[in-house]
C-alpha cells in the first residue's frame, strides 16, 4: 500500500496580528503514506504546530488565512466549513497533544471523555462501555474499568498520554497527528509512549505525523523527516539518509546540537540566535543563513529558488549555500568547496 493518505501542496498560513496578515507558513508541501511516520522537526516557532492545526482545521477562521491544498485520502480540506470539518476531525484524523494534563477536561471522567469522541460521530454506537474499555486496553492500560471511572488528576502523566492516544484512536483514523507527544513526559515513559505509537503504526496502518524537536525520537520512530525553519521546509529525506548525509546548514546544526550526539566531556553545541519574528521573515531567501556570522551579506541576502532541489532519492534541500560552502558547523568558519 503506497497510497498517500495526506497530501499537502503549497500550504501557506498567515495570522492576522494587529490587523496585519503575517505569514507563519510558506508553501509547505509534505505527504504521508499509509503506515508511514513522517517526523516534522525544527526549533520552537518554526511553524510545526501551525501546520498540524491547519490539517485539523482548528485555526480561528477570522484571524487566520490558509491557502494551498491539503487532501486527506483524496478529499480537499482547505475551504471546508466548520460543520464539514467536524466530519473529518476525530474520525479520519486523530490528534495527540503535548501536555496530556491540560488537554483533558479536569472535571470529566476518563471514560466520558473517550466515549464522547465515539458518540459525537455515531449517536447510536453499540456497546459504548465495552468499546471504551477495549480502547484503553489497546493503549496498554491494565485496569480499564477503574481508569474509565477516574479523573485526569488521578492518573500519572504517562497514563494520561495513553488516554489521549486512546481518544485519538477511537474512530480508527487514517491519519494520526502527534504534536510533541512525549515532551512533557520523563525519559522512561517517553520510550513507552513511542513504542506504543510504533505499535499503532504497525497495527492500524494509519499515517502518522510526528512533531518533535528531539532527534533521538526521530531516529527511533520516523520513516521520513521534514526539517522546518521559519515556516518553510529546508530539507526532507528518508531518516537514514538525513542522518547520514545532511545537506542544509540548519539540518547539520540541529544534528550537531542534538545532546545524544555529544560524547561525555564535550561541550554541548547550541545554535546561536533565534528564529526571526513572523514580520521579519522574507521567504524568498534562505532565512537560516542570517544566523551564520561568517557568511557575507550577499550570500545571506541572495534570493533563492522557491522549489526544493532534488539531491537524491527522495531527498530534497532548499537554497544554494550548501552547494558552495562546506559547513563544518555554524560558528566555526567553514570554507568554499
Amino acid at each position: 500500500m503506497n497510497e498517500k493518505i495526506l497530501d499537502s501542496k503549497n500550504v501557506s498560513v498567515s495570522f492576522r496580528i494587529n490587523g496585519e496578515l503575517q505569514t507563519a507558513l510558506h508553501k509547505i508541501s509534505v505527504s504521508i503514506k499509509r503506515g508511514e511516520v513522517l517526523a516534522l522537526v525544527g526549533e520552537s516557532g518554526s511553524g510545526k504546530s501551525t501546520l498540524a492545526m491547519s490539517i485539523m482545521g482548528l485555526h480561528n477562521a477570522e484571524q487566520t488565512e490558509v491557502t494551498g491544498s491539503i487532501t486527506l485520502d483524496g478529499h480537499e480540506l482547505i475551504g471546508l466549513t466548520e460543520r464539514q470539518f467536524d466530519q473529518y476531525r476525530g474520525v479520519r484524523v486523530g490528534m495527540i497533544f503535548q501536555d496530556p494534563l491540560s488537554s483533558l477536561n479536569p472535571l470529566m471522567k476518563i471514560g466520558e471523555q473517550i466515549s464522547e469522541a465515539i458518540v459525537v460521530h455515531d449517536k447510536n454506537a453499540p456497546n459504548l462501555k465495552g468499546h471504551v474499555q477495549r480502547l484503553l486496553t489497546d493503549v496498554g492500560i491494565i485496569n480499564p474499568k477503574r481508569v474509565a471511572q477516574q479523573y485526569p488528576h488521578e492518573l500519572s502523566g504517562g497514563m494520561r498520554q495513553r488516554v489521549m492516544i486512546a481518544i485519538a484512536l477511537s474512530n480508527e483514523p487514517d491519519l494520526i497527528i502527534a504534536d510533541e507527544p512525549t515532551t512533557a513526559l520523563d525519559a522512561t515513559i517517553q520510550a513507552q509512549i513511542l513504542d506504543l505509537i510504533k505499535e499503532i503504526q504497525l497495527k492500524k496502518n494509519a499515517g502518522i505525523l510526528l512533531i518533535t524537536h528531539d532527534l533521538g525520537v526521530v531516529a527511533e520512530t520516523a520513516d521520513t523527516v521534514a526539517v522546518m525553519y521559519a515556516g518553510q521546509i529546508v530539507e526532507q529525506a528518508d531518516v537514514e539518509e538525513l542522518f547520514a548525509n545532511p545537506k542544509h546548514p540548519y539540518t547539520r546544526s540541529l544534528l550537531r546540537a542534538d545532546p545524544s550526539n555529544v560524547s561525555p566531556g564535550e561541550e554541548l553545541y547550541a545554535i546561536s540566535g533565534t528564529v526571526p519574528a513572523l514580520k521579519d521573515m522574507d521567504h524568498s531567501k534562505d532565512l537560516f543563513l542570517q544566523r551564520i556570522p561568517w557568511l557575507s551579506d550577499d550570500v545571506v541576502n541572495a534570493t533563492i529558488d522557491e522549489e526544493l532541489e532534488v539531491v537524491g532519492d527522495n531527498h530534497f534541500v532548499r537554497g544554494n549555500a550548501w552547494k558552495t560552502f562546506e559547513f563544518l558547523d555554524v560558528t566555526e568558519k567553514g570554507h568554499a568547496k
Binding site: E82, D86, G90, S103, L104, L107, A117, I167
Partner: protein, 321 residues
C-alpha cells in the same frame, strides 16, 4: 465527604467562641452606653449609676462576657434598651429576620441571574457591541456612588413610575404565611433589585473572563479535535469549568446579605435586620448590636462551610475520599 464536613463543623466551635469574644469587646469599646443621652440630661448621676448597676454594666468585662454568653447559650439575648424598649432581642430579631431573609434570597437570585446571563452572552460575543454594552452598563452601575444609585432607583420606581411601595415589608402577623409571602414579594423586590444591580458587576466580570479563559484552554482544543461542535464544547466542557469558582462563591454570598441589607433597608424603609442594626448603632443599643453582630459572625462561618461543601461537591480535584 461526611467526615470532612463534620470536621469543618467541629472547627467552627472555637471559631464561634473567638468571634463572640471579639464582638463583645468591640461593643465594649464603643463610646457611651444606652443610659447616657437617652435619659433626661438633668437626671441624677446616681440614678444612671443605679440603672447601669442593674444592667450589670459596672462589672469587669470578662464577667459581663460570661454572663452574656451564658444567657446567649440559653437563648436569652437580653432586652433592647432603645430600639424596641423592653422587647427581648430574640423577639425583635425573630420579627426582623424574615424580611431580610426574603430580600437577601431575592437579591442573590437576581444578582446571579443577571451576572450569569450577561456573562454568557458576552463571552459568546466577545468584543461585539452587545458585549461592550454589558461591560459599560456594569461598570456604570458599580462606579456610581451607592447613595446616588439608591436615590435614582427610589425616585424612578417609587415616585416616577410608582410600581413599588415606598416603605414597609408587607408582612403582617395576622395574615397567613402564604398571604405574607406574596405581599412581601412586592416590598422586597425593589431593594433586592437595587442590591443586585449594584453587586452584579464583580460576578459578571469574573465569570466573563473565566469563560473567555476556559475557551482558550487545551482541553477545548482536544474536544474540537474529536469533532465536537463549538456550541457543544461550550455546553459540555467550558460552562462547567467556568462556573466552578462561582459555585463556591455562592456560599460566601450569604455572608454579605446583612451588609448589603443595612443600606438598602434603611433607604427603602424596609424594616429588617439591616435597618435594625443601623438604628441600634446610633442608639448604642448594646444587646441588639451584639446579637446582630453575632448573627453576622455565624452567617460568615456558615457561608464558608457552605462554600467548602459546594466546592468539594462540584470539583473532583478537591473531593476527599
Amino acid at each position: 465527604m461526611w467526615q470532612t464536613i463534620l470536621r469543618r463543623i467541629l472547627i467552627m466551635i472555637p471559631q464561634i467562641i473567638l468571634v463572640s469574644i471579639l464582638i463583645f469587646m468591640l461593643a465594649q469599646l464603643m463610646p457611651g452606653d444606652p443610659f447616657y443621652g437617652n435619659l433626661n440630661p438633668n437626671s441624677d448621676p446616681a440614678t444612671i449609676e443605679r440603672l447601669r448597676h442593674a444592667a450589670g454594666l459596672d462589672l469587669p468585662w470578662y464577667q459581663q462576657y460570661f454572663k452574656w454568653i451564658g444567657n446567649v447559650l440559653h437563648g436569652d439575648l437580653g432586652t433592647s434598651y432603645v430600639v424596641n424598649k423592653g422587647w427581648t432581642v430574640t423577639r425583635i430579631i425573630g420579627q426582623r429576620i424574615w424580611p431580610t431573609l426574603s430580600m437577601g434570597i431575592i437579591a442573590t437570585i437576581l444578582t446571579y441571574f443577571l451576572a450569569i446571563t450577561q456573562a454568557l452572552v458576552s463571552a459568546r460575543n466577545e468584543n461585539k457591541w452587545i458585549d461592550r454594552t454589558f461591560i459599560v452598563w456594569n461598570t456604570m452601575t458599580s462606579a456610581v456612588p451607592s447613595f446616588v444609585f439608591y436615590f435614582i432607583m427610589m425616585v424612578l420606581f417609587v415616585y416616577i413610575i410608582p410600581v413599588f411601595p415606598s416603605s414597609g415589608t408587607g408582612i403582617d402577623d395576622t395574615q397567613s404565611f402564604f398571604v405574607n409571602f406574596f405581599s412581601n414579594l412586592r416590598y422586597a423586590f425593589l431593594p433586592a433589585l437595587t442590591i443586585a444591580l449594584f453587586s452584579t458587576n464583580s460576578i459578571y466580570q469574573y465569570l466573563r473572563s473565566n469563560l473567555l479563559d476556559q475557551q482558550a484552554q487545551d482541553y477545548v482544543r482536544t474536544a474540537r479535535a474529536k469533532g465536537v461542535q463549538i456550541k457543544d464544547v461550550f455546553r459540555k466542557h467550558i460552562l462547567r469549568n467556568a462556573f466552578l469558582p462561582i459555585a463556591s462563591q455562592i456560599g460566601y454570598s450569604i455572608t454579605g446579605v446583612l451588609g448589603g441589607a443595612m443600606f438598602a433597608e434603611t433607604v427603602f424603609g424596609y424594616p429588617g435586620i439591616g435597618a435594625l442594626f443601623v438604628q441600634a448603632l446610633s442608639g448604642r443599643d448594646y444587646t441588639v448590636i451584639t446579637a446582630v453582630m453575632l448573627l453576622q459572625g455565624i452567617l460568615a462561618l456558615l457561608g464558608g462551610l457552605l462554600s467548602d461543601i459546594i466546592s468539594a461537591w462540584v470539583d473532583p480535584r478537591i473531593r476527599v475520599k
